[in-house]
C-alpha cells in the first residue's frame, strides 16, 4: 500500500473511532446507572419474575402502535422492562423499542400497586424503502436516554403466576445545553402474565 493510501486509511480509521466515541456516553451512562442500581439496592435473597404480554406504544396524539412487551424483575425492586413495535408501509419500515431499568416500589400498604423510577432508552430504526440512483436505500438508527416513570398493577393469581398491567412513560430531555422543562415524551400501556420463582 502506498504512503498516501496508508495515510488516508489511517485518517478514515481515526474518523470512525471519533464517530463511535461520540456515541459512547449513550451506552455508558445507562450501564453505569444499571450497575449502581443493582449493586446498591439489591438484597441478598433473590426472587425472580419474568413475563410477557402486549399493549401499545403512544408516540403522541393518535400515534398509537401495537406492541409486544416483556419484563424481568429481581429482588422485588429491580425491574427491567421493554416494549417493541415494528411497522412496514409501502415506502418505509420502522422498528421502535422502549427499554426501562427501574427501581420498583410498592405504594404504601398496597401489595399489588407499584411505582417505578429509573432510566429508559428509546431506540428507533427507520428504513426508507425507496432506492436512490445508486440503488441504495437509506436507513437511520436513533436512540435517546431519558427518565422512566411507571405505574404497575401486579396482582398475584396464584403462588407463581402474576398478572401485570403497566403504564410507563419516558421523558427524554432535549440536551444538556437546554435547561427548559421541555421533554420528548413516549408512553406505553401493556398487560401480560409473569412467572415468579
Amino acid at each position: 500500500m502506498s504512503q498516501p493510501a496508508r495515510a488516508s486509511a489511517s485518517r478514515f480509521a481515526l474518523a470512525k473511532f471519533y464517530l463511535a466515541a461520540r456515541k459512547l456516553p449513550q451506552i455508558v451512562v445507562p450501564c453505569i446507572c444499571s450497575l449502581f442500581s443493582i449493586f446498591f439496592t439489591a438484597r441478598p435473597a433473590c426472587a425472580f419474575e419474568f413475563g410477557t404480554g402486549g399493549g401499545f406504544i403512544s408516540q403522541g396524539d393518535d400515534r398509537i402502535l401495537p406492541a409486544v412487551a416483556g419484563w424481568l424483575q429481581f429482588n422485588s425492586n429491580i425491574l427491567i422492562s421493554g416494549a417493541a413495535v415494528g411497522e412496514k408501509n409501502s415506502d418505509f419500515s420502522q422498528q421502535t423499542a422502549l427499554l426501562h431499568l427501574s427501581y420498583s416500589s410498592t405504594l404504601e400498604n398496597s401489595k399489588s400497586l407499584r411505582a417505578n423510577l429509573g432510566v429508559g432508552e428509546f431506540i428507533n430504526r427507520t428504513r426508507i424503502l425507496k432506492f436512490d440512483s445508486d440503488g441504495n436505500s437509506s436507513s437511520k438508527i436513533s436512540n435517546a436516554t431519558g427518565l422512566a416513570l411507571g405505574l404497575h398493577w401486579t396482582p398475584a393469581l396464584n403462588n407463581h403466576l402474576r398478572f401485570r398491567a403497566a403504564w410507563d412513560a419516558l421523558y427524554i430531555p432535549p440536551g444538556i445545553s437546554v435547561l427548559y422543562l421541555t421533554f420528548g415524551h413516549l408512553q406505553s400501556v401493556t398487560a401480560g402474565l409473569g412467572w415468579e420463582f
Binding site: 403504564w167 421523558y171 415524551h185
Partner: protein, 158 residues
C-alpha cells in the same frame, strides 16, 4: 393573547385557587389536614410537543387541593381526582381519573403524577411530572404530559 379562548373557565378556577393559596399561607394553622398548591411549567397536549416552559402562561398553570389522601387538580389541561400515595423521602404518586383537555379533542381520561416535595417549611416547593391518556371524540386518543414546578401550602407542616 389567549391561545385557548375555550379554556377561560379553567383559568378563572385557577385564579381562585391561586388567591385561596395565598390567603391560607398567611392564615393560622388549620385543625384539619389539607394542602393547596399552584404549579406551572411545560405542557404537551396536542398543541405541538414539545413546548418550552412558560411560567407566566395561564395555560400551563395547575392548581390542586388535597384533603386527606384525595387530590383534586385543576388545570387548563385537566380536571382530575386521584388518590395520593406518599413515600418517606417526600416523593409521591397520584393515579387519577377525570377529564383531559387536548388540542385535538377532549374527553374522559386518566393521569398519573410523579412528584417530589423538598424543603418543606409551611410551604412546600415541589416538582411534578405527569402523563395523561384520554379518549376524545371520533376515536381520538389524547396522549399528553406536563412537567411543572410548584409550591403548596400544607396545613400540617411546621
Amino acid at each position: 393573547m389567549n391561545r385557548f379562548p375555550q379554556l377561560s373557565v379553567p383559568i378563572i378556577l385557577l385564579q381562585i385557587i391561586a388567591t385561596s393559596t395565598l390567603a391560607l399561607t398567611i392564615a393560622p394553622a388549620q385543625a384539619f389536614a389539607f394542602r393547596l398548591g399552584l404549579a406551572s411549567g411545560a405542557i404537551g397536549v396536542g398543541t405541538g410537543q414539545s413546548n418550552a416552559a412558560d411560567f407566566a402562561s395561564p395555560v400551563n398553570l395547575k392548581g390542586h387541593a388535597q384533603f386527606a389522601s384525595l387530590d383534586l387538580s385543576f388545570a387548563a389541561t385537566q380536571l382530575l381526582l386521584g388518590k395520593v400515595f406518599t413515600f418517606n423521602s417526600g416523593a409521591y404518586v397520584i393515579p387519577a381519573l377525570g377529564f383531559i383537555v387536548d388540542g385535538n379533542g377532549s374527553g374522559p381520561g386518566v393521569g398519573t403524577s410523579f412528584g417530589f416535595n423538598f424543603f418543606c417549611w409551611g410551604l412546600c416547593p415541589y416538582v411534578e411530572m405527569q402523563h395523561l391518556l384520554g379518549v376524545g371524540p371520533r376515536r381520538h386518543l389524547a396522549s399528553g404530559y406536563a412537567v411543572r414546578l410548584g409550591i403548596d401550602y400544607n396545613s400540617q407542616s411546621k
